[in-house]
């Protein structure tokens, strides 16, 4: 995936679930932050309260400004003042009906990028985009009946072994066919992880650069998003609930970690 030049502009990115939209944006931000001091803005319209991608961008790049629904005018103003804005369009959005894109002032530079599986033709994205970026997503077995299930998890703390079992069951089809799932999870030792799965690939586990949360239930974002077919939402909720720790156990873990930190100091 190649990069775009850093200039004041809006870059809208679209593509299938799991195509690599967020990865491409993160790559662009990485390059931009290394080469200039230009302000960077990220916006994912209609991502609701479980904005996993936005939170991932915010954690990985704390200097990036994250905008949410209702802040579209701010986005235009920031770009007019020299910022570069990445607008990530979820696969569930209709590209033909995007009031945000239709209302971009003519004075602002605007590019449309589609992230598409290598060697495959997706007319919807390719006719829309100014530029197509190829990714290695395997779309051969993705059904046209795609469901999306999201759940906020803020305040929940996971037992790591249980999360591993649940994630295995989830990605192997225990709750329906899963094409894509990702989430941010707080663990018992105070660390937070981003886990990302796309059908046909290994899950990716990234420890997030956040301070360990050792004072009760974490008051920071965590959540999960699952894209698939025939998803059994109630069974997923049951299993996720059973993976989470009680107040008492959380407190025990936190005290142990604090003690071990004191010893190591």
């Amino acid at each position: 995936m190649s990069n775009l030049k850093n200039e004041s502009q809006i870059i809208a990115i679209a593509g299938l679930a799991g195509a690599g939209k967020t990865s491409w944006i993160l790559q662009q931000i990485q390059i931009a932050t290394q080469t200039s001091a230009q302000q960077i803005v990220y916006f994912a319209p209609s991502s609701g309260t479980v904005a996993i991608d936005a939170n991932l961008v915010a954690i990985q790049f704390p200097d990036v400004e994250i905008l949410s629904d209702g802040q579209e005018l701010d986005l235009f103003t920031k770009v007019a003042n020299g910022a570069i804005a990445y607008v990530e369009l979820g696969f569930h959005l209709d590209l033909a009906k995007m009031p945000l894109l239709d209302s971009i002032p003519e004075s602002l530079s605007y590019h449309k990028v589609a992230v598409c599986p290598r060697g495959r033709h997706y007319a919807e994205f390719q006719s829309w985009a100014d530029r197509v970026v190829e990714s290695d997503l395997d779309t051969a077995q993705i059904s046209s009946q795609v469901q999306v299930w999201r759940s906020p998890l803020t305040g929940q703390v996971f037992d790591p072994s249980s999360l591993n079992v649940f994630w295995y069951e989830l990605t192997e089809g225990g709750y329906g066919e899963v094409y894509r799932c990702k989430g941010i999870f707080d663990l018992a030792d105070g660390r937070a992880f981003y886990i990302d799965y796309t059908k046909g690939k290994e899950s990716v586990y990234i420890e997030l650069r956040l301070p360990r949360w050792l004072e009760g239930r974490p008051q920071r974002f965590s959540g999960i998003e699952v894209v698939g077919a025939g998803l059994d939402n109630s069974e997923m909720i049951k299993s996720i609930t059973d993976c989470c720790l009680s107040d008492e156990i959380i407190q025990n873990y936190q005290q142990q970690i604090k003690r071990s930190q004191l010893i190591s100091v």
């Binding site: 072994s161 249980s162 079992v165 069951e169 225990g174 069974e235 059973d242 993976c243």
Partner: protein
Amino acid sequence: MKIAVMSCIHSNYEALDAVLRDIDRAKAEKIFCLGDLVGYGPEPHAVVEMIRSLDIPTVQGCWDEDIVEGLNSCECSYPSVLAEHRGRFAHEWTKEQIYPDTIEFLAELPKTMMYENLAFVHGSPHSQHEYLLPELDGFIALERVLSTGADTLFCGHTHVPYVRSLDAGQLNIRVTGTKENQDSTFTAPLKRIVNAGSVGEPRHGRPNATYVIYDTDTEEVTMREVEYDYQKTCAAIIEKGLPKIFAWRLAKGMEYAERADDASHLCERGV
């Protein structure tokens, strides 16, 4: 004489029925059962009734014990809080399903059985909850067999079948506290641990039931893997209100809930 040894049926009647038919075809003259008749699966009463009606010598498994005496599991049982939630749910469900006389039958099961130079236990001679995993330290494994006085120890509980030979084990013992410390060395004869796997809750990556046939004349052990209509059991799991994920895991040969697999862990509960 051929004997059949089976374990860990876990309320899976379809699997038990298929294994009994296979034992019949294999012309085994005697059957021993290593417990865990109930738990997780959908037909606890039918399984116990079948074992009882055929008068199959059976030892008490950890699940059978917990149903009789209340859940008193140690850390051997649950490697995660998810497994614990699932185990507790299955325990309560099973308790509601079975009849008082079934509980009485489970309560009367012995914890170990002997037949000639063979010993039969559920987990280990030390505890029904202890896992004799194939990677267990050789000295401890040998001690577990020697403690029974048998040459071959049959166990289950891990749900993965294996045969482990403990040959020419040389034991060095130092007796301290006397005037002079006394060292003595002796060589133990060939001992074996045979794990019969699981009839109703396999953990070998396929849904098929496993058990073993042992020839008392040749000492040959034959692992048997038996296909059965596991989808019938899966349908019964869902129909009876057990977690749907149990059906999915059974179909994958992954057990209903994952088990501890730390070979160095020794159960602190005695028999």
